[in-house]
């Protein structure tokens, strides 16, 4: 059983469309991280959210941490083929220690 549930598992969209992926848990997290992993590479950290209700923007990517710090979302505006990858959320259920990963959402953006 995954502590962090990500949805959808797979998402295929056309260039220019918007998309949202979700990361949900029944546990409270002190912080949540989002990573992107491209084929043949390790995950690369995109952002860390810490405060409930926090919204962070990274160019066309918008990350939100739920008020109760149990869930998070990633929204991509006007997706581009370079956004293709596996998006992983990860969090610490306690203040430090073992980072738990979700199973990821595979995003494919076609030209």
């Amino acid at each position: 059983t995954q502590l962090l549930e990500q949805s959808p598992q797979f998402l295929s969209i056309q260039e220019g469309e918007n998309l949202t992926v979700y990361c949900n848990s029944s546990s409270v997290f002190s912080s949540l991280q989002w990573y992107r992993q491209e084929p043949g590479e390790g995950p690369v950290l995109l952002v860390t959210v810490v405060t409930g209700g926090e919204v962070k923007k990274l160019k066309r990517l918008t990350f939100q941490f739920g008020d109760a710090r149990k869930d998070s979302s990633l929204h991509i505006t006007a997706a581009q083929p370079g956004d293709t990858g596996l998006y992983l959320c990860a969090g610490n259920p306690d203040s430090w220690g073992k980072l738990q990963f979700g199973a990821g959402t595979q995003v494919v953006v076609t030209p």
Binding site: G42, P43, T48, A90, W96, K98, A103
Partner: protein, 118 residues
């Protein structure tokens, strides 16, 4: 700064054989992690070192997996004997200081070793 280095990139072995992976973390990073990522899943922590001591190996199958971090720098992960279900990507990561939360000490991953057990 140079990233986390891992070798080999790919390895194909038969079941019951042994295999070893090597990792060189970012210079100065005290903490080193080995993760297993099975196709379609997120990374699962196998073992965490702080310097050359083990912090967490609760999910390491100790009957067949072993890891060491000599001198608190490089690390090797060994599987002996391998099983079919060990087919996965083995990722090494490092972070500066685990005493702080992961917010202040993010993980840096290597590109992994893809292991296929036939």
């Amino acid at each position: 700064e140079a990233g986390v280095a891992q070798s080999p990139r790919y390895k194909i072995i038969e079941k019951r054989q042994s295999v070893a992976f090597w990792c060189n973390p970012i210079s100065g990073h005290a903490t080193l992690y080995w993760y297993q990522q099975i196709l379609g899943q997120g990374p699962k922590l196998l073992i965490q070192f702080q310097n050359n001591g083990v912090v967490d190996d609760s999910q390491l199958p100790k009957d067949r997996f072993s890891a060491e971090r000599l001198k608190g720098v490089d690390s090797t992960l060994k599987i002996q004997p391998a099983k079919l279900e060990d087919s996965a990507v083995y990722l090494c990561a490092s972070s500066l200081d685990p005493a702080e939360s992961s917010y202040n000490s993010p993980l840096h991953f290597g590109n992994g070793t893809r292991l296929t057990v036939t």
